[in-house]
Amino acid sequence: MSTESPIVSLKEIRKTFFRGKEPITVLDGLSLEIPAGSFEALMGPSGSGKSTLLNLIAGLDRPTSGSAMVAGANIGKMSDGDLAKFRSGNIGFIFQAYNLLPVLTAQENVELPLLLHGLSSAERKKRAQTALRVVGLEDRSHHDPRQLSGGQEQRVAIARAIVNDPTIIVADEPTGDLDRKSADEILNLMDRLNKEFKKTILMVTHDPAAAERATVTRKLDKGQLR
C-alpha cells in the first residue's frame, strides 16, 4: 500500500447534534486527508470533537453534510447494515476501557470479529493465536479478562483489533487507563503495528507522551483542525 495515497479523505464535514430542539455543531466544515500507512494522533480539549471525528472515520456515525471517503468507500451514504460490514472488513478498534467480553477467554474475545466472516472454528483459532502471538500473549489465550492485568487486557484488545487484518486501526485514548510502563508497552506495540505491519493508525489522546509516538499530531479545537 502506498504511503502517499490518502486512505481517509474528509471534505467540508459538518456534524450537528440536537439537544432537544437546540442544534449543536461539533464539527464545522472540517477537511482532512490521512495517508495510508501513517500513525496520526488527534489531540484537543474535551468537547473539541475528537471522538466525533474518530467515530465518523470509523463508520460508527455519519456526517450531517460533507463527503467522507474511507478506505475507498463513501461511508457518509451507507446504511447501518453496510456500515457494519464496512467496519468489520476495514476497521480495528482499540478502546480506552479495553471492552473485552468478560464471559469469553482472551482467545475467544480475539475470535469475535472473525465470527462475522464465516470461517471455520479451526481457522478462527489459528488466526486468533497468530494475533495473540503478535501482542505477546500467546500463553494467556485461555485466561479470562479478569485474570489479566490492565496492560494485558489492552494487548488482547489490540489482538482483537488486528485479527481480521483491518486497513485502519482507530484508538480512542488507548493508554488512558494504564500506568506509564503499560502505556509504553501499548505504544511500542502500536508503533510496531504501524512500522512492521503497515497499519494506518489514528489515535485520540490527551497524553503528550503518547502523541509523540505518532508521525503526525493534529489538534482539534471547536470543531476545526488547527
Binding site: G81, V103, P113
Partner: protein
C-alpha cells in the same frame, strides 16, 4: 463452538444469584401451571374412566331429587338393558373425623355386584355382605384411611338420613378398572329404606344399567326417558361418562377459575423473565456497543438477547418440569388419590402437559425478550459506547 447461544448461556452465569432466582421463580410458575393443568385433566380423566356399556338414569330436574324405586323394574324391561341396579347418595360421615370426606352409597346389593362387575370382592366376603342387612363393603384405600378390617363394626353418622347407622364391615373391595372408586363405602339400600318413615320409603337417587351394546347407548337412553315422559316424574338418562361430567358441571365455575389462574401464572412468569432480560440488556449496553462497533449487525445483537431469553426459558422449563414430577405425582397426586379418589382417581401429569409446559416456557421467554431485543436492535453504537466512561 462459539455461537450466540453459548455466549448467551455464559452471560446468564455472570450474575448467578439473579439467574438462579429467576429460574426458580419461573420454575415455581411452571410447577403451579402443571399442578393446575393436572387438576383439570385429572378431573376429566375421572369421567373418561367411566364404563362404556353403562348408562345412568336420574330425575330429569336434578341428581339430588329422588325417583320412585319401581322405575328400575320398568328399565330392566327395556330392550338392550342387561341388568340394572339402584342407589341413593347417603352422605354419611365418620363421627370421629367429620371433616373427612368419602362417598357413602346405599345400593341394591345383589344387582349392584352384577352391574359393577369391575368391583373385586372375595367370594366369602361377597356372601357375607349379601347375607347381612347391616353389612358394608369398603374400598381398600378407604379401609387403610379408616383403619378398618373385615369383621369390624363401624358407625356412620347420617346427614341426609340423620342418626347413627351401625354397619358391619363384611368386605374390602378392590377394582379391575379406574371406573370404581376405591375410597367409597357401599351398604344395603334395604337397611336405609326399611328404617325410613313410610312417606320417604322406596325412593332412589339413580339407576345404573348395563347395556348389551355401547353403540346403542343413546337409543336405549332415549327409549328409557320416553317411557317416563308421560309420568309425573320424568327422567334423564345418559352415559356414565356424561353422568360423571354432570357432577363436574356443578363445579364448572371452579374449573374455569383454575383455567384462568393457570394463564395468569404464565403471565407472571413472563414478567419475571422479561424483567431479568431487560436488566441484562441494560447492563450490557456497552458490550453490545462494542460488538456493533466491530461489525456485528443490529440483528445479531437482538439475537444475543433472544438467545439469552431462550436459554433462560429452557432451563426454567426443565427445572420446573423436573420438580413437578415429584411434587405433583409423588406428593400431591398420591395424597389426592388416597383421600379424594372419587374426584381424582388418577392424578398424574398428562404427557401433553409436559410438552405444553416446556413449550410455553420457551415461547413466553421469547415473548418476554421482544421488547429488550427491540431496544438492543435499535441501539445507536455511539450512544452505547458513550456509556464507557
Amino acid at each position: 463452538m462459539m455461537n450466540f447461544i453459548r455466549i448467551s448461556a455464559r452471560n446468564l452465569l455472570r450474575n448467578k444469584l439473579r439467574t438462579t432466582l429467576t429460574v426458580l421463580g419461573a420454575s415455581v410458575a411452571i410447577i403451579a401451571f402443571v399442578m393446575l393443568r393436572t387438576v383439570l385433566s385429572a378431573w376429566s380423566t375421572a369421567a373418561d374412566f367411566a364404563a362404556k356399556d353403562r348408562i345412568a338414569t336420574r330425575h330429569k330436574v336434578s341428581f339430588v331429587i329422588t325417583m320412585p324405586k319401581n322405575y328400575v323394574d320398568q328399565i330392566r324391561a327395556v330392550p338392550g338393558v342387561k341388568s340394572a341396579t339402584y342407589a341413593i347418595w347417603f352422605g354419611g360421615k365418620n363421627p370421629k373425623k367429620p371433616e373427612q370426606f368419602f362417598a357413602t352409597m346405599a345400593f341394591d346389593a345383589p344387582s349392584m355386584l352384577e352391574v359393577f362387575d369391575e368391583l373385586v370382592l372375595a367370594p366369602d366376603q361377597q356372601q357375607a355382605f349379601l347375607a347381612d342387612k347391616q353389612g358394608a363393603i369398603i374400598g381398600d384405600v378407604l379401609a387403610r384411611q379408616l383403619g378398618l378390617k373385615v369383621g369390624d363394626r363401624f358407625t356412620l353418622q347420617g346427614s341426609i338420613y340423620p342418626g347413627d347407622w351401625p354397619l358391619n364391615i363384611t368386605g374390602i373391595y378392590t377394582a379391575t378398572k379406574k371406573s370404581i372408586d376405591r375410597s367409597s363405602m357401599f351398604f344395603h339400600y334395604s337397611y336405609v329404606n326399611d328404617s325410613l318413615p313410610p312417606d320417604r320409603q322406596d325412593q332412589i337417587g339413580w339407576i345404573a344399567s348395563r347395556i348389551d351394546d355401547p353403540g346403542r347407548g343413546p337409543a336405549i337412553s332415549a327409549a328409557i326417558d320416553q317411557m317416563f315422559d308421560v309420568k309425573d316424574i320424568q327422567t334423564t338418562t345418559m352415559s356414565e361418562r356424561a353422568m360423571n361430567l354432570s357432577f363436574m358441571g356443578m363445579i364448572s365455575s371452579l374449573l374455569k377459575a383454575l383455567d384462568v389462574i393457570s394463564i395468569i401464572i404464565l403471565f407472571i412468569m413472563m414478567m419475571i423473565l422479561g424483567n431479568t432480560i431487560a436488566m441484562g440488556v441494560r447492563e450490557r449496553t456497552r458490550e453490545y456497543g462494542v460488538l456493533r462497533a466491530i461489525g456485528f449487525p443490529p440483528a445479531s445483537i437482538a439475537w444475543f438477547v433472544v438467545g439469552e431469553a431462550a436459554v433462560t426459558g429452557i432451563v426454567s422449563g426443565i427445572v420446573g418440569l423436573a420438580l413437578s414430577f415429584p411434587i405433583v405425582e409423588l406428593g400431591l397426586g398420591r395424597l389426592l388419590e388416597e383421600n379424594m379418589g372419587a374426584w381424582f382417581p388418577y392424578f398424574r401429569i398428562d404427557p401433553k402437559t409436559y410438552v405444553m409446559g416446556m413449550g410455553l416456557a420457551l415461547v413466553l421467554a421469547l415473548a418476554a425478550s421482544i421488547v429488550p431485543a427491540r431496544n438492543a436492535f435499535r441501539l445507536q453504537v455511539t450512544d452505547a459506547l458513550r456509556r464507557l466512561a
